[in-house]
Amino acid sequence: MTATQTLAEARATGPYLASGEQEKRTKRRNRRIALALVIPGIVGLAVSFLFPLVYMIRMAFNEGSGNGIVVETFTFSTILDPLTDSYYWKVTADTFLMGLVVGVLCIVVSYPIALFLARTQSKWMGLLLAAALAPLLTSAVVRTYGWMVLLGDDGLVNSTLLGIGLIDSPIRMANSMSGVIIGLVEIFMPYAILAMISGFGRISTQLEEAAGSLGANKAKVFFRITLPLSLPGVLTAFLLVFVLSISTFVTPRLLGGGVVQVLATEIYDQATGLLNWPFAAALAIILLVLFGAVISVYQALIKKIGG
């Protein structure tokens, strides 16, 4: 509208004297733009993530007998199979226990580094942080390989111990669960460190100094102030490491040398070796349920300790 008007004319004829029209039009336009921006992402994730997941869950309700033979049906029997098989109970239990042990040990080893990095004022902080996170740049395969070398019967650890005379024959670490645990603890340290550092933001040195001036010695300060305050970060780190451990494949496969069976390796064998896809899917569902259960417990705990 470009014609000039007097004020009175404008008041009488203005198109937007009715409420909200322009606002509504803008809202509609923005919704259209947002939709256009979001659709490629949704499509990409649907194809790459949602659909495979749903398909896999559906597959668990089919029947299979290996060699790629799948009977399209809807039954709970495939899922119940591993639940009624003592072997798979053992595998699940092993997986769960491994997750717990790795989680706890990883926290213990990572805590000092996380505490140090969160509070140091040294100018090397950036470099040390980078050093702590750098392992994330390498593939799990490479790091597992490193552990195979370290823990093998002729590896660094055994050679050193034999050389000093602490042991008479090599300790079996590679090709066993203990090796897998050691390897996983190290591999997941950067994740734990990161999680704990963000959780530690709340602990200021002032709190500790205050406690110190009130008469607490160093140990007391640690156990009564630092540790409790760091608990949410520790819990988050534990969850992260646990969840990563029970799902990990490469390290149990390589360091386990075929001897260590966890849910991840079983899924692989069933899917690509035996080609019993419904069964592999059933195992995957068990893994997912384990996953979900732990996350729920975590959320309940976090609420309690006031993360």
């Binding site: 014609a3 008007q5 004020l7 008041r11 198109p15 937007y16 004297l17 409420s19």
Partner: protein, 363 residues
Amino acid sequence: MDKLSLVGLTKQYAQGIAPAVDRLDMNVEEGHLVSLLGPSGCGKTTTLRMVAGLMDPTAGQILVDGSDITDTPVHRRGMGMVFQSYALFPHMNVHENVAFGLQMRKKSKREQDALVTQALEMVQLGHLAKRPVKALSGGQQQRIALARALVVEPTLLLLDEPLSNLDAKLRETMRTEIRQIQQRTRATTLFVTHDQDEALAMSDRIAVMNGGLIEQFGAPSEVYERPRTRFVANFIGRANLLTVAVREESPQPGGDSRYAVDVPGFGVFPAVGEPGLRGQRTLLIRPHRLSAAPVVPGVDGLDGVVESLSYTGDSVSYTVRVGEQLFAAERLTSGADHLAQGDRATVSWRAEDALVLPESLEE
């Protein structure tokens, strides 16, 4: 014709809650700097953003040079705006920042360079043309933001509390500078601020806003000397406000009437005001027109006690309690007539300094 007209401009965020801007009518003359002045939440920034096009009005119209631009999108309104945070593009240097608007208007490189140089000269920052904006001080950023807005010769210049982030000394310098530049370029300007000193010092007109409404629109002297409502009297300058009842009016030639008003608890006093005022009104006496002096027998006034005083070098202000009422008095320090806290004092004023405000206090 007015440069800018707002007709019934309204912004209501949701049904049932009070509008942020309530059927605003305002006219701005070409070349004027108009301040939108008010406390936070009064709707001044919302109004500015609607004029800029950054926000849709719920109802009403915006006319520039007589044309209705209410549904013109932001980028076609041809205005210039300076934000509170200056909003300089951090990834560009000074020259590129100022040239941005010209690029949008498809000016040639040569034209751009000439205009940018001119604009930077105007704010006396020509030597910083190649500097990255992150290296500039607050005051410099502000001047660049101004140059960027003005270089495109905008239909309107919109300033959203541009001085709020500067320290006091700088604020005063920039105040004068902005006003000078505005007058030189004759840019019609809307200036949002909550600082009444700024508004009084810089504006051709002030729109005092409260709760989405314009309580008064007028020249600074008018708004200060003749506020129309209690809110305006209180917001601009300091005020002694008494609720009074108008008893008598004697119209005078040449405008104001003389009134006799009943101040509850103190008796009837003479006052002035525009003709035709009746009933319950507010009486305004500015503190520097109110005298507080040691009690001298025989001198007329209200007797009370000095409750507090504050000395600021140039002047001293007292609060004197007379019965239930607290009076604020202000005076340039002069050496004579010292009053201390707890002293008895007489409060008095001249009739011409007591103004009856037009705002009716009855429902």
